[in-house]
């Protein structure tokens, strides 16, 4: 496990905390004790077997990633901490009042700032450009300097650390007035906009009469706008295909300047009817330099793209599994990668495996207790494939094998809890597909700074072809069909 060892301290903030918190002030401890307390609270240290009241008492109902750490007999609060990609991210925000009685988390402005900073660090460390551990180490070594840039004197100025990195390099560039703080420098060159839409289908298939299968599409529209000028104005509008299901739960990037109220209110919680807003979904914005997610949405789809069934039976020391997959005929049978991941949680390493696949090959990651079924670019003509196998597992080791608090159990439970089994194995059937939606792009116009010009161009927008239409970076048709939720992990490891 890799811990984030970078701890930055801000003595001036500490001084203010001392005055604001008064008698309830608890100083931030030194790195060692802090880390120790944090690991204990996150259940990452010590033995998990026995009941430890300090940690396991039922009254410790932590409902947010904000903890009170007991350090040297006192409680340090609030400590924001969470675990992602084997890293612990933690920050201690300033509370500008006495801590007793304890104010609510929501009323402390530093809490959202702290969380956002940690997300920023996470994005920086694990951004898409990262390839290897060396990259990660380089980034870790840059981190203190960047934080000094992004969060001097404890006041958070920007969570985009990549921007801070650029701003140190751009130090000699003269920044014009009205340059947005989230845009360091300016683009020079051929104007072009690339847009890619990624949709993942989250699906739960029970294969039973009394439990309805559920699935949902979660989509992301990512943009990279290479446009000259300080504040180019762009509008992207998404139109649904005929009979396309409407977009819901739309959240947008902060650079979007205004939104139709119908977009704001479209929600998957409402009962669907014909009156639901069906577009066009217009997003006017002024883009930052880097690639960004313009919006996320969800959408109901008529059928899951892949139908699957998964059976598991434990016989003494052996585990017998069968997996059947069937591609829906409406989905184009052509993929870049298509794999099914079959993880085995809460068990030891795989010691023995016998299997038969009707199609594709199977890779075994013994230490990770994982099977990866590589289907390839296409399903066979029958559109149906199957895998059956028998596995045995070794003794549970320390932290090497995946842990999951839902997928637990052994023989006895299989017999005992059929309901639970259904959850358990079908949970692994999250089917994620990366398919392209039908999207019509309309770029209204790319402009220079001036407000007047915007109004002018909006007028002739409907008459003219978008000027940069031919340069549009059309997204590559990238299809990935992944079963299981461990892909990111594996790719990185490879």
């Amino acid at each position: 496990m890799l811990y984030l060892l970078t701890l930055l301290r801000y003595p001036t903030v500490e001084k203010r905390a001392k005055i604001f918190n008064g008698v309830s002030y608890v100083p931030v401890p030194e790195d060692g004790p802090f880390l120790k307390a944090l690991l204990f609270h996150l259940r990452l240290s010590g033995d998990d077997k026995d009941f430890v009241e300090r940690r396991d008492s039922c009254s410790h109902t932590s409902k947010s990633p904000i903890y009170g750490l007991s350090v040297g007999g006192e409680e340090l609060w609030p400590v924001i901490a969470f675990l992602r990609n084997d890293m612990i991210y933690a920050s201690v925000p300033l509370v500008e009042q006495a801590l007793s009685p304890r104010p609510s988390v929501v009323s402390v402005s530093g809490v959202s700032q702290g969380l956002e900073l940690l997300f920023g660090i996470q994005d920086f460390l694990y951004s898409s450009s990262q390839k290897s551990d060396t990259d990660l180490n380089t980034k870790l070594s840059q981190l203190p300097d960047l934080l000094l840039q992004a969060c001097p004197l404890g006041t958070l100025l920007d969570t985009n650390l990549q921007n801070s990195l650029s701003s140190t390099n751009f130090s000699s560039v003269t920044q014009p007035h009205k340059q947005p703080a989230w845009k360091v420098g300016a683009y020079k060159g051929k104007p072009q906009i690339s847009i890619s839409i990624t949709e993942k289908v989250k699906c739960m298939q029970y294969g039973k009469q009394d439990a309805a299968d559920t699935w949902q599409v979660v989509g992301t529209v990512a943009c990279k706008c290479d446009l000259e000028g300080i504040m180019p104005s762009v509008t992207i509008s998404l139109n649904l295909p005929t009979n396309g299901s409407p977009l819901q739960d739309i959240i947008v990037h902060p650079c979007v300047t205004s939104l139709d109220s119908a977009i704001l209110t479209a929600s998957s919680l409402d009962t669907m009817d014909d009156s639901a807003f069906s577009g066009p979904y217009k997003f006017p914005f002024s883009p930052p330099l880097e690639s960004f997610s313009l919006c996320h949405y969800t959408s109901p789809v008529p059928v899951p793209p892949i139908l699957g069934s998964y059976h598991m039976k434990e016989e003494e020391v052996q585990l017998k599994i069968t997996v059947n997959l069937k591609l829906h005929e409406s989905v184009k049978n052509n993929f870049e990668i298509c794999e099914a991941h079959i993880p085995f949680y809460n068990r030891g390493p795989i010691t023995h495996l016998e299997y038969k696949v009707s199609f594709g090959q199977l890779e075994v990651y013994r230490e990770k207790s994982l099977l990866v079924w590589i289907i390839g670019q296409k399903f066979p003509k029958s559109m149906e494939i199957s895998l059956s196998g028998t596995l045995t597992f070794g003794a549970k080791g320390h932290n090497k094998q995946p842990f999951d608090h839902i997928c637990i159990g052994n023989t006895a439970h299989v017999k005992h809890l059929v309901q639970c089994l259904a959850h358990r194995y079908l949970l692994n059937m999250h089917v994620r597909t990366y398919v392209r939606r039908y999207v019509y792009l309309m770029i209204t116009k790319y402009l220079n700074v001036n407000v007047q010009q915007i109004t002018k161009t909006l007028k002739f927008d409907s008459h003219e072809d978008p000027p940069y239409n031919k340069d549009l970076g059309v997204p590559i048709e990238k299809r990935k069909l992944i079963l299981g939720n461990e892909l990111d992990h594996i790719n990185k490891r490879k």
Partner: protein, 877 residues
Amino acid sequence: MGPLSREAWTQRLGAFRASPSAFLAGAEGEDLGHDLLSDLRSEKLSEQTKVSLLTLSLEYSDKLWPDAPAAEAAATSLLDTLILLPSKPSALRRLLLLAATTVLVSGGALGPTSGASCRLLPLLLGLASGRDMGRSFGSASEQRHLQATACECLGELERCKPGLLACSLATLRSLLGQTGPIQPVSLLLALVLHNTLVVPSRAAAGAGLQGLLVARVSSVGNCSWDWTGVEGQDAHLQPQAPSWPTAEEKHGFPLLEPSPEEARELKAAVAQLLDTSYLLTPVAQAQLLWLLGWALRGLRGQPPVLFKPQLVRLLGTAQLTLLHSVLALKAAFGEALFTAQDEALLLRRLTLVAQHPALPSPTHLFYLQCLLRFPENCPLGPEGEEAAPLLLGPQLCQGLMPSLLHDPMVLLARLHLLCLVCADTEEEEKDQVQSPQGYLQELMAGLQQRAALDGGPQALATLCFQASYLIARCLPGQPIVRTSLIHGLAQLYRARPSLAPHFVDLLDQVSPELREPLRAVLQQEVVARPGKNESLCWHLQMLAKVAEEDARGATLSFLQAAAVHCTDWGLQQALLRVCRALLRTGVGDGLADLLQVLARQLEDADGRDHARLYYILFSHLSSPKLGVALGPSPAAPALASSLVAENQGFASTLMVQETPAPIRLHVGPQKAKGPLLSLPLQVEAVEEPVYCLELRFRVEGQLYDPLEAVHIPCLCPGRPASLLYLPLRPRRPAPARLHVQALYTTPAGLTCHAHLPPLSVNFADLFLPFPQLPKGSEVCFFDDLWNSCLPKGVESRMWCPLGPQGLETLVSQHLEPFVVVAQPPTTYLIAIRLPPDSMLLLRLQAAQVDGVPVALRTDNWAVLPLVGDYLRGLAAC
């Protein structure tokens, strides 16, 4: 010492960071700050090393230069280093500015008398306003870069000394319209504006808000910062973003009423800031909104509509800080900014982002907290209490229902919301399948089933009990939920008794409404399974918690059956702990038999002894005393003997303990004399009632026969002191000191003893009168006595001084009972018996101006000096 090499510094900084306190306490600690400052100017060190030195001084300035003089010196040195930098571009300038600011603030040196402060402030202000500061600050482009840093430093100074920059408002405002980086200037302006409105300093009050906002730029040089209002008032530090529910009561924002002109200027300034806020990074926008929102909150006649255009833009994002600042505006202005429709829309957006699949789980959790603490326009319950917002209908909640597939934290957060919804829903809807209560029960059943899985991780069991606790806390008044919870927990125990520690913990935490029925059910669960089984140790642990008087017979027979199987020491101890619990609750019959059986049968000698001890205690102590004696649970038994541990538990209660004096005791006024000598004592309780008080006296120096103890059944504080007579049997007529010890029982039943301050028996306390004589024979009697004293006794003449009172008063006050013959005002014949067998005879002659001559005889020459002292002391009385 010359400058250290790069490697030496790396090593040194590494050692320091590993444990700053240990390093500073060590040999090298003292010099670190000094070396660091001097090596910053060394030409041998690379810029990279100097950056790491400065970074360290930024982070640990409070450790390196903890007091004001050290901080002042360090800041001066840093500023000197800054001036001395060669004019080529350098990353050090920014860091030096930051470090100087940090050092001054954290060391508490910032102030008008500090030379470094007076150098730093004009420098920062000059850089911030974009003036050319000369070549020592690098090229023009680098200075522009430093402009942002200067704003950040000024911001930190203003945060630590609110009102410091009030006079620079106009300068900053004009900067916003000019060239320069927009974000640092906006944030600084908003901060200063906020502080000016929230903490109107004296100077600011003098100049007036409008004056501050529109002052001519030319006047900047005269009044750029203002120490008057901020000096030495750390306590007046103002939160920029006060926590909202308590903000009003605690900080009591002064309601300012600006004049129309002022209001216009203010509005223009705020509008200017808001209009360009789009150019700020999201986190900076959020800070700006918090600052401006809370600044305008206390102003009359400043409608918050200015914020409206921003809200429309912000509601679409899921950016944490932005939505959080919207919520802060909601809390600050309520209905004035958010109509009911707006409120509904905001709730809808929050519900959406609290479960949006594209967002990470910490974000979900934060938004769930926002929902639980949503600042409603018209809250029903008391403010600041967690409650499901009124407008959050069942439709919206549907998406936030907890499910077994969620990770524990999300599950608990959603469960909390569900509980709050249940608390608002009437129970009568229970027959509907989709009622929240029904859903809750189903969920709990699932959680309990999962926790029941043998060998499942501890975290799952913990989660189940956390959920149970949450439900018990949020829904105490819903019997159906409670019944099903208890039923489920009983089933869980049946399936997995090894969860006993969790059950014990739950019983300790929940309120009596759940505890009592759950306890009874669990007791039944345990006693229904007698005999040998592998869970016996858990059953016994459970029983020690839940055993009470009900189902006594079943409990005892369970224990009898269990005793046979308690073969090892651990089990025997568990069994004895149950006995102990029963002893405490006062379960009588049957227990004695069981203890006797145990005292004979148990294999381990320690266990047998222990059982015998309990038996003895049980048969010798009354049940209240037993309850007290076995009160707190004993410490974990040492391996050698559990008796030792037990002893620590109740030895104190059975042994007499020394305490401070519980009563006050003093010698009372002398009264009528009986034939025997006794000392009148007054006793009163000090704080709490004292029972069975026994007072033991010891005479210093064996002057008297040993004194008998005095017994008082009960003394209560507040009652008048009771009088008691302590019989004295002197061996010699001499004053003495009595040592007093009190032995008593407290209301809690503990026996205690205390040493009281010693009592003095004076010479006069030993006086007894001669028996009453027949009339007429007094003179004769006295003369006989007088003559009988010699020759073995002594005669003496003394001078008894008289105070302002005459002889008559003196006699009546002190010697009245002993007067045999009185012929006032000339002669008094006084005869005093001195036990055991002495006497003292006094003849008081005609009194003169300041005294009276006394002729005395006694048959005991040893009392003469005492008499002398006594007579001389009489006048002083």
